[in-house]
Amino acid sequence: MSVGDGRRVLVVDDERPILRALSAALTARGYAPEVALTGAEALERAALDDPAAVILDLGLPDLDGIEVLRRIRGWSDVPVIVLTAEGAEDRKVKALDDGADDYVTKPFSTPELLARLGVALRHRPASGGAHDDPSGPGPVLEVGDVRVDIPHHVAEVAGRRLELTPKEFGLLALLARHAGRVLTHRMILQAVWGPEYGTESEYLRVYASQLRKKMAEDPARPRLVTEPGVGYRLIDRDTPTS
């Protein structure tokens, strides 16, 4: 594929070894990496090169990474995956609430990062050909062996029908609509419970645990993954994303 049709990825990190590693990994998978070492450089490249996705380290020497994200969001809804340090849950939540599509914690596994990048690119119709995307929004969503039929209000796991309350169904449907993506507590509460909610993450914990029970989740290989202190994501267990 030629540069400019959605294979250009901007990588922003102040550490050259990381840039070298990611450039090589992206090139090997047919992407065209561009690199930036500072926040200012990142904003310039993001504006001039029109990348299909951005991988953004939040710890930059000149500008706060979240500020870079906000400025990019000021004119573009390009998918952004942020790289954060371990333990910075509040930063992850802030980045996601401020428009990041996903995050990966350093030190990260490159295949995992690339899987997240793939999910983020699929979720953007602008990146081309998303209408036949099986995980895109549609009346019937399938994520691995999880099937959510929204018009008929039916959810199945491995062919077994689940008896769900409306809120549990809403939670599963929301996560399935954004399969593979992390959704923060706030995003889920506002989508399922209503816009006046946002901080009641203990509700969510109760519902998520009930949903897990009904889905007969194996804690060692969950479909409904808890991102501690951040939110939840529903993954297809059979694709090697994590």
């Binding site: 102040d14 550490e15 070894p17 590693a21 990611l22 990994a25 350093k106 596994s109 990062l113």
Partner: protein, 382 residues
Amino acid sequence: MVRRPFGLLIGAALVVVCTLALVPVRDAVTVATPALVLVAPGIVAGLVGGRLDGVATAVLAALAFDIVFVEPYGSLDVHLVDDVVALVAFGAVALTVATLVALAADRRRSAEQRAEEILALSEDRERIHREQRRLVFEKTALEQADDARRALLRSVSHDLRTPLAAIRAITSDLRADADYDERTRHELLDVVGDEAERLDRLVANLLSLSRIEAGALVPDIQAVDLDELVTDRVRRLSRLLRDVTVATHLPPGLPLVDADYVLVDQVVTNLLENATRHTPPRSTIRIDARGGEGVVAVSISDEGPGVPPAERSLIFEPFRTGSSAQRSSGIGLAICRAVVEDLGGTISVGDAPAGGARFTFTLPIHRPTPLPGAGEVDEVAS
């Protein structure tokens, strides 16, 4: 008021004394003399004891006056109108004077007590203020120490994680059998090697830092050939230094120094790593040395932005990096200073002739150990 019983006792004693003193002359004087004299015990009792003592003494004095000095002697009877008037007047005067005197004394005493209390209170307040100031000061010091510890943890974990992140990113991908050509694969493996070396240097610095902080840094002093040390270190850092030129100018015949080889090696490593971090690619790092008054000075110069004068004294503090520096744990230069000063030298930063920073450290020239019996001439620096 603790003196109350004494007031009455003294008053009574005085009444007795005055009475006894005046008995021999009672027929030679008028009743006015004992009357005047016997007012005195009431005054004294009132002053010493208080109002009740004064009044009680005045009553005693009146009785004594009546019995001893008013005829007929030895009884309370009074016959003459003059004597009745004198007795009543005496009683009234003695009581009034004793009461007034006692009240004045009470007032003075309570005023003194209040003054003492006020003084004590203000001393208490002053002590509390001093204590408050001390606590605020201690709290600030603790907070600063806490901030420094947090800064250390943050920067060390950042520095440890950065090479680890690169290593993990590359190895996870090589294991996933990514489609790399041979050149890329080699390049990535080189990055893994470089980052592992960087971790190794950081761990060495952390170990030194903990030994320095624990006071457990005991230098193994020996004669060190700086030429040999610098040449060997530059060779070992060839991968770190591959994007720059290293120009080493150590004059032949440079004196040996008294130092710990391993520690000086760490100083040179940290200074070279610091130089590569700030000098642009394809520039030159210069290493020179010259012997001076009792010391050898070694300089390492880069072509980077240099260190502004205001930051020159701060840059050797732990966890400081120059404003233009990329973040690093900032312990490297702190270790350089701790080590060099421990070895009896100095370290400083200035401007390099070509622009950029020039770090210079000194070490004492080696003095041969005096042969046994050669006299008390040279004591070996330790």
